[in-house]
Amino acid sequence: MTNIIEAKSMTKKVALGKENELPILRDVNLEVKEGEFVSVMGPSGSGKSTLLYNISGMDRMTSGSVKFKGREIGSLKEEELAKVRLKTMGFIFQDINLLKNLSLIDNIMFPALVPTDADKHAVNQRAKKLMKMTGIEKLANHNITQGSGGQLQRVGICRALINDPDILFGDEPTGALDSQSTEEIMSILAQINKNGTTVMLVTHDVKVAAKTERILFMVDGDIVSQKKIGKFDAQQGDRKEREESIMKWLMENGF
């Protein structure tokens, strides 16, 4: 399988005052294969989210290289980068980040309607299908203030999927949700991955990580270890074992 992401010696520094710089990512090297389901774990401040933002091109890395489907992200101009994000990437946030003045279905459809040649009918049908898939079809015309955290996060997922992206990034997508909602969201993401979309998410939750197939562990801005646990299959009933092995691995790494 080909790599969808290849990062080499990726660094990110932020300015601290006029002279000092604080490194957030240090020489990170990473490969993600197409169709893979990857999670990133690590203590707070280890650079997990920053890694995601820099890979997706939302933040500009300080040095190094990131290739997305063979294209160097760092050298793309703002407009090209926006196009890449619009057409081939989806992003879900812990804070959900919906647009305030749009209804839930409009929030979902908006990225697909931006191109001037968009087929509105087709977009609408797809949005409805996604809403049905995530179980929020009844909320279509609601305001964003009228949904629960779990419901809104599903809207976020639908929005991320509306343009049928090659990769879905999630920055602690279940971080603010209760365990029931977390379960539901994770099964949706698993389903999406099963359909062929690469998924890469940041999490603190072992239960969430246990549903992914490879876990990266970050400390102080670098990936210090990784663990492959293979695709999760709800039917097999090995969930507990997966979680325990991850816990053990994390403890070995000093987490």
Partner: protein, 784 residues
């Protein structure tokens, strides 16, 4: 602590703070200057009045006259009248006064007379308000003419009339309390008694009498006027009460002061809107901090203080600076006053009166801030900490769904629907655009209306190519007959109509007799627009100007009867129509020829005429001007310009000023507004960028929305200027005799040129201000 907070806030919002400061300072400067000017005007007029001792009642008369009758009347009414003096004016036509390089004063609508200084009152003074004492061979020239013809002290003017020819050296400006203003249609040149006697001997001018009365402190001018009229004493010209002169003298400065006060109010409104916008934006930004402060138990009063302090400091500083600067600015405004009313404007009243402006502005701003800050009371600590609830918590029906959009790209639609969604926010900008368009278009409309031939309808005359005015001279009747004969035979003339104005007595509402000028002739040739009714067409019919028909005039409606008296004979006439007229103090009347001319009191003859097609108007005017040297030949545009004096020129300046002010205000507020809007929407912009919109696309959304507001503002502004403006101008003009002004619209100016100027300036500002910064990492905003 207090100053530190103010300083921090100032640093945080430098541009906004500076703009608000600038607006408040400007408002204070203008308001203080205007009040300063009014104070100067009041003091100037009263000291001018002390030096000039103007008459309380002046009767103008030409023709037979007996001083003994007047003396007898004066004695009879000693309990009212303190002094009487008759000034004999020698009227000289403007074309007989030569100056400079073969120039004359021909073409002026002012009646020019040569006089000697009175002995007891109604003195004509110099620029130091000292009574003029003109030496032999010298002349003191009215300020109006000094200005009009750029004359200077030491220049020579030569009077040539018949056999008489004499050169006078200008020794002084003549400041004349009674006839200073361009609005009074006579001007007095003061000469030495010997020169005057020589002029009289040579019969250089037509004689006219100013029969002047100075009343006792308890004297009643209305009673004296009625008694004078009833005694049948000479009065074939108007009778003027003293207070009208003070009004004429102060009018133009008063108008300027009022316009400035209006602009300063406008600036204050804009400053208030800026403050409101700043508050709403900063309170939104600080809402979590407000919540924290409330949760910590800090009182509402103390929280508000944080916001209020800054504006108290700004208003106080702007007040002090504005007040001080007004002393420099006022000098730009009072040049007219220094010339016409008082050269020395050193009174102390102005220092105290103009303090009103900064104090009032300070309290207004502080009160306004308190009003806006009431919003903080409504925020509970919990709500503030969960600020999302504040923004979209209302369960309203969802409007403007994306799929409803049929005409625009979704991106542009996002910008347009934002205006509808957050109209409260955009309302400020809309109001600014409406106001700015209004202050551009209204003066343009007024200027175009005054400059158009249609304006004749407000001057009591029909539309015509040209008019010839004959004023009183010995040969007036001969000239008039000769002119008519010539017009009859001139094939270049398509049609003409003669009109004769003479003075009659009319019975007023109290049953006593007043003077009234009535113009007779055939009013069907050059039809006049009537407010109500129609022109007098047959015997016993009369139409009245609005001011005559008004309640404080004769109080007549169409169909009422009016009794007039000429040569001892009374006639009852029926009012057939009411028309607008701003000439002759707004008080004129028109009657059918059958009323007959009052031969004893003919005031002037007018011939209106239209030229045949293809005839050069200018050439024809020159011909008749040369053939009838004492006549005034004007096309309607010139006539309007002379009648309205320099109001049209001033209006031209107001148009330019209006455009400049409007554009500056619109550009500043737009830039300010967009800066705040973009900073308020920072997180929403970051979300849009995160899902793949380019900064350009987001800029386009803001441009679309704001351009729509601009377009809407301009359309509403033009409509307001066209319709509301008409009502406002009509209200303002009704005191002058025109209550129903209809603007002349030059479509390409009101709907294209002016809006385009505003569009380009504001459009560029929107274009520049809507740029979304791309430098920052998105995660910084998204995760903050």
């Amino acid at each position: 602590m207090f100053l530190k907070m103010v300083k921090n806030d100032f640093i945080r919002n430098k541009i906004v703070t500076m703009t608000v400061f600038l607006f408040i300072t400007m408002a204070v400067i203008l308001a203080a200057s205007a009040i300063h000017n009014i104070a100067n005007l009041i003091q100037g007029i009263s000291s001018f009045q002390v030096s000039a001792v103007p008459a309380d009642m002046t009767v103008m008369h030409a023709g037979e006259y007996d001083q003994a009758e007047i003396d007898q009347f004066t004695e009879q009414y000693r309990d009212h009248i303190a002094m009487q003096e008759t000034m004999v004016l020698q009227n000289i036509d403007g074309s007989n006064i030569h100056f400079g390089q073969n120039q004359t004063m021909a073409g002026t609508i002012q009646d020019i007379s040569f006089v000697v200084q009175n002995k007891h009152f109604d003195f004509i003074v110099d620029l130091d308000n000292e009574k003029l004492d003109v030496k032999e061979g010298f002349v003191a020239v009215p300020i109006y003419f000094m200005e009009q013809h750029d004359l200077e002290i030491g220049d020579t003017i030569t009077v040539k009339s018949g056999w008489y020819e004499k050169a006078f050296v200008i020794s002084d400006y003549a400041r004349d309390f009674e006839m200073n203003s361009p609005l009074t249609s006579s001007k007095r040149f003061v000469i030495n008694q010997d020169d005057y006697n020589e002029m009289l001997k040579m019969q250089a001018g037509e004689l006219e009498y100013l029969i002047e009365f100075k009343l006792n402190e308890t004297g009643d001018p209305a009673a004296v006027q009625t008694a004078y009229n009833e005694a049948g004493l000479p009065a074939n010209g108007p009778i003027l009460e003293g207070k009208i002169f003070a009004i004429f003298n102060s009018m133009s400065d008063m108008i300027v002061a009022l316009v400035i006060i209006f602009i300063s109010i406008l600036l204050l409104v804009i400053a208030s809107l800026c403050i409101r916008l700043t508050f709403l934006a900063t309170i939104d930004e600080d809402i979590r901090e407000i919540g924290v402060m409330k949760a910590m138990g800090i009182s509402k009063k103390d929280i508000k203080k944080v916001y209020l302090n800054k504006y108290s400091v700004i208003s106080a500083a702007a007040g002090i600076i504005g007040y001080l600067m007004s002393f420099a600015v006022v000098n730009l405004l009072n040049s007219n006053m220094r010339l016409y009313i008082a050269s020395d404007l050193s009174g102390s009243l102005k220092y105290i009166l103009s303090l009103i402006a900064p104090l009032l502005v300070y309290f207004m701003i502080v009160m306004y801030c308190k009003q806006v800050l009431k919003r903080i009371d409504k925020i509970s600590a919990v709500e503030a900490l969960r600020s999302d609830i504040m923004e979209g918590g209302k369960n309203r029906r969802y409007s403007f769904p994306l799929l409803q959009n049929k005409f625009f790209s979704t991106n542009m639609y996002m910008g347009l629907r934002d205006v509808g969604k957050r109209f409260k926010l955009y309302r400020l900008l809309l109001v600014i655009f409406i106001v700015c368009t209004f202050i551009v278009i209204l003066p343009v409309n007024m200027y175009n209306t005054m400059n158009s031939p249609e304006f004749s309808s407000y001057m009591g005359i029909g539309k015509q190519d040209m008019r010839i005015d004959l004023r009183r001279t010995d040969s007036i009747t001969e000239d008039f007959n000769k002119l008519q004969e010539e017009l009859q035979n001139d094939s270049d003339i398509e049609k003409y109509a003669p009109y004769i104005t003479s003075s009659y007595k009319v019975k007023n509402a109290e049953g006593t007799w007043d003077n009234m000028n009535i113009e007779i002739g055939d009013f069907s040739v050059f039809p006049l627009k009537f407010l109500e009714g129609r022109a007098p067409e047959g015997e016993g019919e009369i139409s009245l100007s609005l001011a005559h028909a008004a309640k404080d005039g004769l109080n007549k409606k169409v169909g009422d009867e009016v009794t007039v008296r000429a040569g001892g004979e009374e006639q009852t006439l029926t009012v057939t129509g009411i028309y607008q007229d701003i000439t002759n103090g707004g008080k004129t009347a028109k009657a059918h020829t059958s009323l007959g001319v009052n031969e004893e009191a003919v005031l002037w003859y007018i011939v209106s005429l239209d030229l045949a097609e293809g005839v050069d108007v200018r050439g024809k005017m020159d011909y008749y001007q040369n053939a009838y040297s004492t006549a005034q030949v004007n096309d309607i545009k010139e006539y309007t310009q002379q009648t309205l004096g320099n109001i049209i020129d001033q209006m031209g300046t107001v148009v330019i000023g209006g455009i400049a002010i409007a554009i500056i205000i619109a550009v500043l507020i737009t830039a300010l507004f967009l800066r705040m809007l973009l900073s308020k929407d920072m997180s929403q912009i970051a979300i849009m960028r995160s899902i793949g919109l380019t900064s350009k696309q987001i800029s386009h959304q803001y441009m679309a929305g704001n351009l729509m507001v601009l377009l809407l503002g301009i359309i509403l502004g033009v409509l307001a200027a066209n319709f509301l403006g008409e009502i406002l101008v009509s209200m303002a003009m009704s005191s002058m005799g025109a209550a129903k002004i209809k603007f002349v619209h030059i479509i390409w100016q009101t709907w294209l040129l002016c809006p385009l100027a505003l569009m380009i300036a504001v459009g560029l500002t929107i274009f520049m201000s809507c740029r979304v910064a791309v430098k920052d990492d998105l995660s910084v905003v998204l995760r903050s």
